[in-house]
Structures are given as structure tokens and as C-alpha cells.
Symmetry: C2
Subunit: 329 residues, 2 copies
């Protein structure tokens, strides 16, 4: 019987087990695919702790991102056929989940990915790039001459935001806590780096941008550090909080935000992906950029399925990574 990863208790990664189950047939509008690779995301860890923003029934499959080959389609499926190379979209909900040797999801959760990408790359696209897409392209309409401040710049999400900022002609400034990742961030393509442990964020952004400030601040950290953006904002700055990595309360620099007409946006790709038109626009934009090799997926490591826990521990260590962590069942 095929193996899948399932959460049995809301206690973090310790609640996960590899279970053997029957690969059921897809039902109406569902597609089944053989999984060649799946990727880890921070949202998975929040789900393991407390269900994240979803109502999850245990035991529950987990995972948003897998790539593979369609091997069965349910009735009324119109967009996919057996043999198609597909990867799943960030859509974790209603007990679906794709981490394992096979996955069954509604066809609306699936996309084709460009032929020039491997399955390992194919499962590493949508969460980070669509998250960056809706923020930078659709909401903030970032344009040439803008500055985009990306905290935790060395994360996969940060790198994806840098890529999208560059597609839009903007200057990308990455932050990192210590000198350790500084050179790596610059080598990855960031135009500037701020070491938050020793440098003042606002001062540095002011200097880098010649007093203009950041049109977008793309921040997975939150917490008290948000106060340090006080002097880093351009007019109409959008501050996206998308990760909640800092568990402390998020405090906002209200006066400076008022002066700059800045807006705080606690943000997730789930705010946009369920809208069919927005979904299609996002997929098309990222698909084209990948196909034309204007952007390139970064993979740090791959692990075999039985070493999933090693992969998770490596992801949670969160230091010195250079791209996505992928499991190949």
C-alpha cells in the first residue's frame, strides 16, 4: 500500500507518522497523482501545532506542495488528463494534503508547471512565488524605481519576493540577523543587505534609497521589530506580515505610518488563491517567468521519504539555507 505522511496529534512534528493507506479513486472534480517530490513550508508547522487557520480533523494529511504525474481523474475533471505533469497549489483545506507517495486533490488545487523544470523544482514554486505575486504585483503594484525591503531575506519566501521585485524593476533590500548570511544574500541577487543585529534598519533603508524609503516591506517576522520600520517607509508603504515568526505581539509605528499613509497587511496567499481569476493570473505570471528562465527555483537539499524528520529538523533550524527543502518519495 502507498505511504503518506499524516498528523495524528497537534503537537508539532512529533505528531506526524508515515501511514500506509489505500490510494482511493478520485471523486467528482478530483485528480489523483503519483507524487515525485513534495516541499516543506512554514504553514505546515503552524498546522501541526494548532491547525493554523483551518479546521482540521485528525488524523489529517498535510502539505500544500507536491509535484508528480496524474494517474487517475474523477468525473467532471476538465483541465487534467492521465500522464499530465502537475503540481499542487497552496490550498490546504478540508482535509486535503499532498505529502506522501500519492495525492488526491480537487482539480482547482492543481496547475501544470513548465517543462523545463524537474519535479523537485515543480513542487517548490507556488507557495513562495504566488505569495510574493499577490503582494507585490496585484496589491502594491510595485514598479521601476521602487524599493522593496525583504526581512529574513535568505528564506525561500524572501528569495521569491526578491525575484518578483526584480521582475517589476524594483530594488530589493534583504535583511539578515547576523553577518553569517550577509554574503550569501548578496550572492543570491539582493541589491543590498542590512544586518539587523548591528545596523539600524531605517537608517540603512534611508541611505540606500536616497531618502525615498521602501514602497513595500515584506516581513515574515512581525513582533516588536515592526517598530524599527518607522523611518524606512516610502509614501503609501505596504507592510506585509506573512509569517508571524516572532511570537511576541506586533506593535506598529502609528505616527510614522500616518505620515506616510502606510498600511499594515497581515497577509497570506489564502486571501487570494480561492478566487478563480486571481488564481489564474498568478499562475500565468509565475509560469511565464519560469518558462522564460527570468526566475529560477532554488533548491537547498532533497531527502528520501523515510528521512522526512531529518528534513523537518533541518528546515526548523532555519540557518544558512539556500533554497527549498524537498522530499522525494
Amino acid at each position: 500500500m502507498p505511504k503518506i505522511l499524516r498528523l495524528h496529534e497537534f503537537i508539532g512534528p512529533d505528531g506526524l507518522r508515515i501511514d500506509e493507506v489505500d490510494a482511493a479513486l478520485p471523486e467528482s472534480n478530483e485528480v489523483r497523482f503519483k507524487v515525485d517530490a513534495f516541499a516543506l513550508n512554514y504553514g505546515d508547522f503552524e498546522l501541526m501545532e494548532n491547525g493554523y487557520v483551518f479546521s482540521v480533523k485528525l488524523p489529517s494529511r498535510i502539505g500544500d506542495e507536491a509535484a508528480g504525474i496524474v494517474d487517475a481523474v474523477g468525473p467532471d475533471v476538465t483541465q487534467f488528463e492521465i500522464g499530465d505533469r502537475v503540481s499542487s497549489l497552496p490550498w490546504m483545506n478540508e482535509g486535503y494534503g499532498v505529502d506522501g507517495e500519492f495525492a488526491i486533490v480537487p482539480e482547482t488545487f492543481l496547475a501544470h508547471y513548465p517543462d523545463n523544470l524537474s519535479a523537485v523544482e515543480g513542487c517548490s514554486i507556488w507557495v513562495t512565488y504566488l505569495t510574493a505575486y499577490y503582494a507585490l504585483v496585484e496589491i502594491s503594484k510595485v514598479k521601476e524605481g521602487d524599493y522593496v525591503l525583504i526581512t529574513a531575506g535568505s528564506s525561500s519566501a524572501g528569495m521569491a519576493a526578491m525575484d518578483v521585485a526584480h521582475l517589476l524593476g524594483a530594488t530589493a533590500i534583504g535583511t539578515t540577523r547576523t553577518d553569517a548570511n550577509k554574503q550569501f544574500i548578496l550572492d543570491s541577487g539582493f541589491d543590498h543587505v542590512i544586518v539587523t543585529g548591528t545596523e539600524d534598519i531605517s537608517e540603512r533603508v534611508q541611505k540606500i534609497s536616497n531618502g525615498k524609503g521602501a514602497r513595500v516591506i515584506y516581513d515574515p517576522i512581525g513582533g516588536p521589530q515592526v517598530m524599527e520600520f518607522a523611518g524606512a517607509m516610502d509614501q503609501n508603504c505596504d507592510i506585509y506580515l506573512y509569517g508571524g515568526m516572532d511570537p511576541r505581539p506586533t506593535v506598529v509605528p502609528e505616527i510614522e505610518m500616518t505620515q506616510k499613509a502606510a498600511v499594515l497587511r497581515p497577509y497570506s496567499v489564502y486571501q487570494h488563491i480561492y478566487d478563480e481569476e486571481q488564481k489564474e493570473r498568478g499562475i500565468k505570471y509565475i509560469y511565464e517567468a519560469l518558462k522564460s528562465e527570468k526566475i529560477k527555483i532554488r533548491i537547498d537539499r532533497t531527502y528520501p521519504f523515510e528521512k522526512f524528520r531529518e528534513a523537518i529538523d533541518y528546515q526548523l533550524k532555519g540557518k544558512g539555507r539556500t533554497g527549498k527543502i524537498v522530499i522525494t518519495p
Copy 2:
């Protein structure tokens, strides 16, 4: 010589003095008017403490809102003539200020006000109603069936927001700290009232709105109370922070905001009024509503000029007021 109110030190109202000065002639694009009434605003007090968001040179005239009759126009003035009834717009900047027996401002800072209003009413329109207008009408596009939660509902700003919410067909929920103002708020036209000292904001909003939540939260208070909006938000809720009455840091309910795709907007009318088209749209909307008596200006008390300090102390006490506080020089 005519008398004007001027700030001599950034020490709050104690920094104010009535000074006698020459009423200079208006320069290019400026209009001089004899002031029949001027109104107090919280922004004035922030300016008295620290210059607010402006760079102020002392001694400085203060005040945004005055109404009177044009008695001189400078070269190149096109919209106003001697004898016109005018009131000034929220535009405090560059050392202008209208509190006193006369005022000189660029014509772009002025508007005509409807004939059916007195000067006392005429000086009490623009700050509160334009502030409510840009938020509820232009940014949030509030519509029939929406709920608007207005904290400090008994303030002039709160009442103006209630009026605009009603013009848009929305339901207005006001908050107040104690039972003392509860009946007054209902009598003023709010559809519902929440007494924050004894009632849970989120629970009450959920109940009032049948689980829908508030499309807009219009909040001059800020601080830790913003956390109490966690369960009060409708999808795409806009939280406006426009007063900063609570000096403690503003903390946001990040997870719930993410789930609702809610946005925090530290907000001021100054973010919009300097745009000529936005200015004209706002004036037209409020002018028409006043002229047709769909909305009505609320005046609490008037004071003679020499008792300006009594007026200020009454405003700062902030309890049990029923409208604007106006000084008639």
C-alpha cells in the same frame, strides 16, 4: 489691531496667547476672511505639544477650521470674491492657522459652505466629515448591509462617521467606556451601542451583526484595545486609527486579521485633502448632504474669544459632549 490665537511654546494649551497683530494683505493666491466662528480639534492639541506631523515655526497661528466672510483677495485668486461666505479646510501647514478674528489662507484651503448653515455650523464641517468621507466612502466603499464599528462614538468625529455610514446605508455601532454616554449615543442616531467597560467588543459585534462582523472599524483610540477587535472583523475589514488617543503602543490581532484579510490603516484626512480631485469630491459629497439636510451639524457649546481657555479645558475633559465646541470672536 485684530486679535489672533498663537502658540509660543510646545507645552500644550499653556503655550497659547491672544496676540494683537496687523491684518496683512493677502499675497498671491491667498484669501483673507473675517472670522465669525472657529472650532477646536484634537489635531490642534497635538500641534501644541510637539508640532504634530508638521514643521512649525514659533510663534505660530493654529487651527484648521474657521468660517467667515471674505474681505480681501490676493492676486490670481479665482474661486472666491469679497463678501463670500467661506470656511477653511483641514490643511494645517506652512504656518497657516485660522483661530482668531481674521485668517489668511491660500484659496485652495477654502470652501464655500451651504447657505442653510450658520457660521458656527460652517466652521464645524470639514475636519470630521471629510475624515469620515475618505475612509468610509473612497477607501472602504462601505455599502448597504455593512456594519461600521465607531469607537468613542460620542465624539464629533464619531458622530460624523455615523452620519456618513448612514448615508451609505450601513449600520453604525458606537462604543463608549461607561454607561454614562450610552443613552446619548443611541439618541444621537447610532443603531447600536457597546459599553466597552463592561461588554466584550467582539462578542457584541458578532451578535449585533449576526456573525458578519464590521466592515470598517473607525478608531481614534488605538493602543491595546485594538486587540479586542480580534473577533469583530468582517472579511476585508479596514481598521482606521485616526486619533492616537491612547498613548500606549498599538498592538494588532495579527492572526485574526490574516484570516479576515483585514488591513490596519493609521489614518488622517491629510493623506487625501492635498490631492485636488479628492478634495473636490469630498467637499461636493458633504456639501450636498448638508444642503439637502440629510446630515446635520451638531454643536455642543460656543464661547466668546476671551474665554478660549475655558473652551479648551471643556474640550479636553472630553466627557458628555454633544457636538463641536466653537469660539465666536
